[in-house]
Amino acid sequence: MPLLEARDVHGGYGGMNILNGINMTLEADEVGVIVGPNGAGKSTMLKAIFGLLLVNQGEILLRGEPIHNLPPNKLVQKGMGFVPQENNIFPSMTVKENLEMGAFLKPNSVKPMLKQVYEAFPPLYDKRHQRAGELSGGQRQMVAMGRALMAEPSVLLLDEPTAGLSPLYMNEIFARIREINAIGVGILMVEQNAKQALAIADKGFVLAAGQNRFTDTGASLLANPDVAKSFLGG
């Protein structure tokens, strides 16, 4: 049974559909990347999975259990984590407090998880008593991912984790994502830096106009001349 499955998902805001029938499957040991041009519905799809917008046709399954249109806090309980693209930290709280908030529903696992997250993101340990709002962009992204990991999710949704970061930080974040995946967290992310993201992806979903255009392994998509021509800038 796949970890996460989307079947013919339609949805959007206020009666206007942005998603027009999207299919996806992700296994527990996979990193999936959603790429596509602007307005293809990439971030919208992520939000639909995390219950932030109305799915009016089709279904989304987490380990075979339908989860579409459940509120976010229920999804967190079911093992889903979400890192929004913007406003993804609590700026006036310390790094440690940010992380604690991630495990709000599992107060008993705060200590061991803090240790794990600090191991995954060593810079966060050094800055644990600093306000998250004072950190650099890359460190903020680490805080945001760390916060989502605190809830011990089985699948993590990342909305453009490398947006606005320097190439150095981008590679660091991608490396961390692979590490997180290695400890058994399925990852589904939306990326603008499509080439680099597909390079580390097990699976890639190329969306256009709210529909699947190509679905394959990351490597084969990179090698596919059609994909390269239309979506990866030649």
Binding site: P84, I89, F90, P91, S92, M93, E100, F104, A151
Partner: protein, 334 residues
């Protein structure tokens, strides 16, 4: 030196008293603002309601305090806090939550809170009448006069029993709030929701729980402030309507959504008021002989008469809105 004692009584003590009241009030207003994003006009009447609960309980059990060696009103305060907290949660459920669920603009909630203000005033006057009443029903208000051991000092520093309770409880409330917000799981969740409501929700924090917790704290603080104010002067149903402006001024001075700023703002406004109505001639009088002849000081050197005290918080409010709308501690929302 006696003039200086006069200054201590009229400015330092009086300023600390009103500063404490404003501070506790402003913390409540600022907490509502940081969680629900609207100016809660009914806060002052929640304060009155808390004091009214104490009045009712004290009238019902006038001797209850004797066993504790404290005024009955103070003994009844925890019960009143619980009742006011309950009222605050109930008001939110009945009136604010439906409006929020409709997704209205914050200003509509402000108007709704004005409606709640009127309802509370109506209820309180309906039961308590319109006149003033003393919260010391069966006890005697102790007044402490301390003559400082300095040469030539005859004027004592005067502090009343409720003022001492006020100072102690203000300190306790501030420390308790600090510990709650920084150490407890729910307190941190409250700060998280104030920082970033969407992300708080995405972290699994239940918004409704936090809103309810906020109202419990706000109601309890309101009961403390209202009761201690009524203990110090007398209980009047329209007592706290005149507190709205200084409390909001304090919250805005401190930076809206910023609890510590609200405490500082409360004392800024409190001291500004007492300094403005203080007759400075009293302090200058001893040096009268050393003034040049042409300078004849008027007998009244107060900035504003006590009847215009309300101008002071307004002036502060306007000044802060013009020069630094985010407040001295950089509040979140303008």
């Amino acid at each position: 030196m006696n003039e200086f004692m006069f200054f201590i009584n009229n400015v330092l003590v009086a300023g600390s008293v009103s500063g404490s009241i404003y501070a506790i009030g402003a913390v409540g207003v600022t907490l509502v603002f940081s969680i629900m994003r609207f100016a809660h006009f009914a806060h002052a009447d929640m304060m009155t309601f808390g004091a009214f609960m104490v009045l009712a309980l004290t009238t019902a059990f006038p001797a209850a305090g004797a066993g504790f060696g404290m005024p009955t009103a103070v003994v009844m305060l925890p019960v009143a806090m619980a009742l006011t907290a309950l009222l605050a949660v109930g008001i939110d459920k009945a009136f604010y939550k439906p409006l929020r669920a409709h997704g209205v603009k914050p200003i509509v909630l402000v108007i709704g809170s004005l409606g709640v203000t009127l309802m509370l005033q109506g209820v309180i006057r309906l039961f308590a009448g319109t006149g003033g009443q003393n919260l010391y029903v069966d006890d005697r208000k102790e007044i402490f006069r301390m003559v400082l051991p300095l040469e030539g000092v005859r004027v004592p520093v005067v502090i009343t029993e409720p003022q001492l309770y006020l100072f102690v409880l203000t300190l306790v409330s501030v420390v308790a709030l600090h510990l709650f917000l920084n150490r407890s799981r729910l307190g941190k969740a409250m700060r998280a929701m104030s920082d970033n409501p969407e992300l708080a929700q995405a972290s699994g924090i239940n918004t409704n729980t936090i809103v309810a917790v906020t109202w419990v704290i706000v109601g309890s603080l309101a009961a403390i402030a209202g009761t201690l104010l009524s203990l110090d002067v007398t209980f009047k149903p329209d007592l706290s309507f005149f507190l709205l402006l200084p409390i909001f001024a304090a919250a805005i001075v401190g930076g809206v959504g910023h609890p510590y700023g609200a405490i500082a703002g409360g004392f800024v406004v409190g001291f500004a008021e007492t300094l403005a109505v203080f007759n400075w001639n009293v302090l200058l009088r001893p040096y009268r002989d050393s003034f040049p002849d042409w300078l004849e000081l008027p007998s009244n050197l107060a900035f504003v008469g006590t009847e215009y005290k309300i101008v002071v918080p307004f002036f502060i409010l306007v000044a802060i809105l013009i020069w630094r709308p985010t407040g001295i501690f950089k509040g979140k929302v303008i």
